[in-house]
Structures are given as C-alpha cells and as structure tokens.
Symmetry: C2
Subunit: 462 residues, 2 copies
C-alpha cells in the first residue's frame, strides 16, 4: 500500500494535547471575563448560504471564501452552466498561474465556509431580534473561520476569531464595557504593559478637512497617516503625494498629527469645525467612562490610529503591546453594518481579540502557567497482572478525590514506570507492586503543591 | 431591498445563549470526567483532503461527504473534465429527482468536511505516532461533523460527535476504563437507571456457527438478531428466512439467544467451540474489570446486541436508558481500523457518546440544573445619567467579587428595570437612583443561594 498523505490539509493544523491545553486556557479565561461582563455566547453554523457571504467582503474576499460543491441534481446543471460560461473567452481571467474563472464558482456551489464572525452576527440579529434576543444584545463568539489564502508563517486557512459586540445601543457605556472587558482579559492573561489606543472616525475626517485634503482623498490620506507608527513622516508624506494630496494639505496634515498629542491641543486646532469638535467631545466621553473600568491605566489617545476605517462610525480602538509590531486586536463603533440584512442602521460596537496572535506571543514570551504542561496529575501503574483490579480501584478512589489519573493498562517494571512518568511530565507516579504494596513518588519540582501531594498520600493510605 | 433569507442553512442550527449554556454544561462535564481518566483532547481541521475521506464510509457515505470546490486554476480544468465526463450518458444516474453524476464530484473538489471522528483519529495517529504521541494514546474528541443527508426531526447536517478512544493497547483494562468513564459521565449528568449492555463479536460469530447458519450469512443473521429488543422473535425469524437462513438454523439461533441469559448458560451451549469459549472468557475479563469502575452496577450481558458489527473485533457495548428507544451511545474494540493509513493492525477500543441525543433527552426530561437558565447573576441599571460612572464602578466591584453582571447601558425607570430583570430571568437586580442610593432586589425563588445573596449585599455596602 502506498503511504497515504497524513498531514493536515494545507493551511490547517491538528491540535495535539499540549497545544490544546494552552488554547483552552486562553479561550476559557476570555469566556469567563466576557460572561462576568454580561456577554452571552453565540455559535453559528460552519457554512452559510453563499449569497449570505458574497458581496460582503469585497471582490478579493469573495474569492477567498471556501465554497461547498452542489450535491445531487443541481450539480449536473451547474457543470453544464459552468462549462458554457468558460467557453466564453471573456469570462476567463489569465494570470501567472494559468486560467481562472471566478464567475463560475457560484454555478457549482450554494454554501460557503464562515469567513468572519460579523456577517453571521448580522444574519442572526436579523433573524431573531424581535423574538429571542434582548433589545440590547451583548454577545461574544469564538469560532474558527476559513479563508482560501496562501498560507504563510502564522497565517492559516483555518483560524479562530474572538469577537465581543453590543448590538442595539448607542450609549457610550457600551464602548467602555467592551474596552474594559478586553483590558481585563489581557491583564489576566499576563500582559501588564499593554496600551489600548483610541481615536475617532469623525476626528480623522475632520482632520482631513481642516488640513485641506481634497474631497475624495480623505480615505487614502487616513490610510497613509495610519502608518506613522511604523514609518517616518517623510515616507508618509511621499505616500500622500503619490495619492494626489497637495503639498499644502500634506504639510498641514502631518503637522496637525505631530502636534496633536492631546485632545486639548487638538480642540484648539479644530475650533469652528463643528463635526470635529463633536467627535472630540464623544471621544472624551468614551475615555472618561472607560477610565472607570479595568482599562483605566491603559488608555491612550492616538490621532494616527485609523484601523483601515471602512465601516467604523465613531470611536475606534486598538491593543498595542511593547516590543511587538502590529496589534493584538481592535474594534470600534460601526453603526452601519449589523443592519445589512434589514436595510436599516443598527447601532453596534465591538472589539475583536487577535486570538491566534495572542497564543503565539504568549508562547514566545513563556507566559503560560506551568501547570498546563502536565497532561494528568498522576501516572498509575502495576508491576504484576495480579494487581490490575486493585489498580482500577485505586484509580477510581484518586479520581473521586479530584485527581486526574492516567492508568497504564499493562504491567510494567517499577523503574521503567518511573522513568516514563518523569519523561512524560507527570508530577507524581504511583506503583502497585505484586505484593499489593503501593508506592508514591512525587517529583518535587513538578506541579503538585504540598497540600495536593499530602491529599494524594492520604488517598493511598485509606 | 428584498428581505434576505436569514435562517441558518438547511440542516444546521444557530445556537443562542440558553441552548449554548446547556450544551457547554454537558460537554464541560464530559471533558472533566475524561480528563480525570487520563484522556487527552484532540482537535482536527474542519476539512480533510478528499482522498483521506473517500472510500472509508462506503458508497453512500462518499455521497454524503460535503465537498469543497477547487479554487483558482484547477477549477477551470475541473469544469472541462466534469463537462466531458457528463457528456457520456453512462456516467449519468437518473433518479426520481433528476440527473446526478457522482463521479464528477472529485473532478471539482479537493477537500471534504469532516464526516466522523474516527478517520481523523486514524490519520493523526499515522502522522504523529512515533514522534508526538505516547505508545498508549488515550484521546477524546468533541467536534462537529457534517453529512449531506436529508435533515429531519432530530437529524442534522451539522452535528456534534463525542468520542473517547485508546489506541495502542490490547489490555482489557482499556475496555474497563472507557466503560467506566462513560458511566461516570452519565451518572454525573443525572442518568440514574441506565444500563451498559455488553456483547462480543467473537461470540456472535460462534453463535451463528453453533446454530448452523450457512457461511456468508452470519453478518446478516447478526443484524437480524440485533432487532430482538425492538420486534418479536417471529419477526426476526421471518427476516432470517428472507435472508436465506435455513429453518433448523433459525430455530436453533433464536433458541440460543432466548436461553442464553447468562454467560454460564452460554458456555454450556458452546462447549467444544474454541473461539466461542475464548470470546466468553474475554468478555468475562472485561465484565470483571469494568465491575471495579463506576460502571459496576450498570453492566448487563446482552447476547442480542450487535451494533451493526462492521469493524468491531472484540467486546462491544451500548448505553440503554429506560423508556427510550435506541441507545445513547456505544463502542467496542476495533483492532483493524486505526491502522488504515499505515497498512497494519493497531489495537484500539473506544466509546462514542450520542451527544445530540443526550441533549434532547435531558431537555425532554428536565434534567438541566436550574442555574443554567440565568444568563447573568445581576442586572445593574441606573435611573439617571448622572450615575453612569458610578454604575460602571459598581459593576467592576461586583465582577471582582465573582458575580456575572449585566450593566444596562442607558438610564431606565426603576420599576421598568425590575420588570425587565424579572422577565429575563435574572436572580437579582440593582438600581442606582439619581441621588446615589443603591437598591438591591433579589428574586428569592431564583438561583442566588443565601450566602451569595449576602455577599452581594456586602459588596453594595462597601
């Protein structure tokens, strides 16, 4: 038999126990914090109708949706339609790798794999809002999403997202609560020095107007400004020039950003600009309320923060950690998106934690608690088959006392058992000898604290 | 804008909070019991290479695998190949609903959605066995699987499976441990009266031989016998006749099953049949060892149990609950399956809990703990906007003290807030009045026990 390919498919991962214990530790802690903040869980199906997904993520996004082939009868019709479609040269796109025909995909598929957690949120809100959901719906969702991207280091085709959102309220308490909850997650995960940077969509638009950026160039100007934390003002200036922003506007824009270290300073520059001043007031309210949450000491206004902007309508936020490029998550208010299936605006505000990134950073920085390295508390074994029932009884008693016990199913020599336990990271090993004697060895430097070790000893003496 | 379809796709479900709390309660408890028994978690990707899946579940199973469409360049080639394929009339199957062409699917797809948890287990074992897995690998896995079946009541296209297996040991301690772990799960979920019925593949084969069932008819005879718990011996006899089992063999087979209420009785009937006697001995060992586990009082030998048989090679087991047709799960030893990617036999034994079924039965029988109905412990609100910062501070203090607090983000009249809290099932409601006074109302019949209520009161007094 030819050796079958047994790696996981390209861009996906098998999660073995040690990795899973770390992932569960992080997701469990986030879950606990979000539930303490009154957020409720949501889980949606792995696939959605293709027409639910397409058109929501731009043309490139549509291409990256994994599509599920028709089943049964529609497939034959679909093949005929797709074959006719690609016969027309105009429908073929020629690229470096060969021919593609993006338009044919919808003729062969009716379902697509979940691409993010926001479109499902909007669909679920539209479906259940008047019946099963509260008027102010606070939900969190942690599930995998799939993108048919080219995988690279740290980029996967299957990866987990972790979103917390409030739908149905335009109170700024909502901004404070999502920021506070995220801050508490980060603190409890062991990130001490993080910052939550804040800015405001209205402020960025006002800034462009005050600087004299021509209408229609604001979005591109803001994208350029967003890079100021990575590259020099000169590089940003060159990008602004390339985009067609005038020399006067470029200079004024960069000066405004450089000088606006505080909202007070910015307020003076914005005097007379009603929308700009309103955005400043709004951001002050958010900062004030978030200052009463666990985020208090982590807040920082950052006028250069733009977060791609797109759908944000109010305050925007982003997590920064010292000595780490990029962010560990971000969010903001986006009142225009959740109503996509209802044809109306629905107030919404959320924060997305970069779960995969956080897992990598915690690994690199050794931030996982030591106890996660132990699969079980005790390895239990017997040296003689006559002890097998006794071993099962001992295992049962220890488990009742709250210990995780791995029972080695076949007899083994006692020194081999101890070596096995040590190598596999067990904190303790119990050997049942042929004469019924039971010996306990606790590896002192391992993870059983003294009171647990004493409890283990007591169990054996019963 | 035309109203978009916002239900979940056919055969799938959105899980809203109350449902999810119940699901998490059950899966969390199973997880805890399995980890106490030394089992380690595994999670595999949502999709597998199509050639990993196809050919493992029979022709019908191959049809039920959801397939993921090619992306980019291979799609154009695939469409051409599939179009040529269906041009040949011989490749078209005509059914009631129209034309299908099963053979075309593999020309358009390279990935398939996970169909069960056993093929991924076998793939993962083949990939990591010598490197990252222990010689005796005890794993549990709880993940969704997908089948392109026609959904009906209680049957879904996306549903969760929950498997526990031991790979790499032929010790009967393994049978005892999986049976014991499952029994403990059921007990802790509140099933008191369940039975774990046991039988043995070798015994069923021997039974057919002793009864004189002709070679080649054993499998079908056993499938018929499996129905004895649902239909009368006469109906089973008629099925045996239809399958071609002779009158003498039919009578003898039914008599053996009827008389064999115990292994002792059966042993006498099997005298001289070496394989049959060996199977009896093996089953006695399993029953003896399982008798030392939490399954002790739930074990019952049942000669009519067959579990479709297929891949089982030793003891087989099934969970039965009074007043419930069908089973809540089953398993057994299957030494031939896990080596499918290695081309060799690998000893394995497992138990699969019918998670979806258990969830339904627990709902129907009101077995969920009352505390699962409360989304949070406290609804906190304020009657006047002047109290908003104070409300955030109070929420923070209560959360620190371990309460799950839902903060209503906008001011609300106190009687409206109390009604809202009562209707939404909160055990307690706290109102911050305009003058800074804080009032607590605990709905006494709800879920906060007296000590928690006292702790809540103490928090407010600080």
């Amino acid at each position: 038999m030819a050796k079958a390919l047994t790696q996981p498919p390209k861009g996906t991962r098998d999660f073995l126990p040690e990795e899973l214990r770390k992932r569960s530790y992080v997701t469990g802690l986030i879950r606990e914090v979000y539930e303490a903040h009154g957020f409720q869980p949501l889980e949606t199906p792995t696939f959605e109708r293709l027409d639910t997904l397409l058109g929501k993520y731009g043309d490139e996004g549509d291409q990256l949706v994994f599509k599920v082939l028709f089943r049964g009868e529609p497939l034959v019709k679909g093949i005929r339609a797709a074959a006719a479609f690609i016969e027309d040269e105009q429908n073929i796109v020629r690229g470096r790798s060969g021919e593609t025909a993006p338009g044919a995909e919808g003729m062969l598929a009716d379902l697509g794999l979940r691409y993010d957690l926001t479109v499902p949120l909007a669909r679920v809100y539209a479906e259940y809002r008047d019946k099963q959901l509260p008027a102010v719906w606070k939900r969190y969702q942690m599930q995998p999403v799939w993108r048919a991207d080219n995988p690279s280091k740290g980029r996967f085709r299957e990866f987990w997202q972790c979103d917390v959102d409030v739908v149905g309220s335009d109170s700024r308490v909502v901004e404070a609560e999502v920021i506070g909850a995220v801050a508490e997650c980060l603190e409890r995960l062991g990130f001490a020095e993080f910052e939550i940077r804040l800015n405001h969509r209205g402020l960025l638009t006002a800034l462009c107007e005050v600087a004299g950026v021509a209408k229609g160039l604001e979005a591109e100007a803001i994208v350029a400004i967003d890079k100021l934390d990575k590259v020099s003002p000169e590089v940003v200036g060159a990008e602004l020039e390339a985009k067609g922003v005038s020399a006067v506007a470029r200079e004024r824009l960069l000066a405004l950003v450089a000088e606006a270290s505080s909202l007070d300073a910015l307020e003076r520059e914005m005097s007379g600009h009603a929308a700009g001043l309103a955005a400043i007031t709004d951001l002050r309210v958010v900062l004030g309320l978030a200052g009463v949450t666990p985020a208090a000491s982590h807040l920082r206004f950052d006028l250069s923060l733009a977060r791609g902007l797109g759908y944000y309508t109010g305050a925007i936020f982003e997590i920064r950690v010292p000595d780490l490029a990029g962010s560990l998550g971000g969010g903001g208010r986006y009142d225009g998106l959740i109503g996509m299936f209802l044809g109306k605006e629905v107030p919404a505000c959320g924060f997305s934690i970069g779960l995969e990134r956080i897992l990598v950073v915690m690994e690199e920085r050794g931030m996982y608690p030591a106890h996660l390295s132990a699969a079980s508390d005790v390895l239990l074994g017997f040296t003689d088959e006559s002890q097998v029932a006794s071993a099962l009884e001992t295992a049962r008693a220890l488990r009742r006392a709250g210990f995780r016990v791995d029972l080695r199913p076949a007899s083994i020599k006692s020194d081999k058992l101890r070596k096995l336990a040590f190598d596999a990271g067990f904190p303790a090993v119990i050997t049942l000898e042929g004469d019924g004697k039971r010996s306990l060895k606790v590896f002192a430097e391992r993870l059983l604290d003294p009171s647990r070790a004493a409890a283990l000893r007591a169990c054996l003496e019963d």
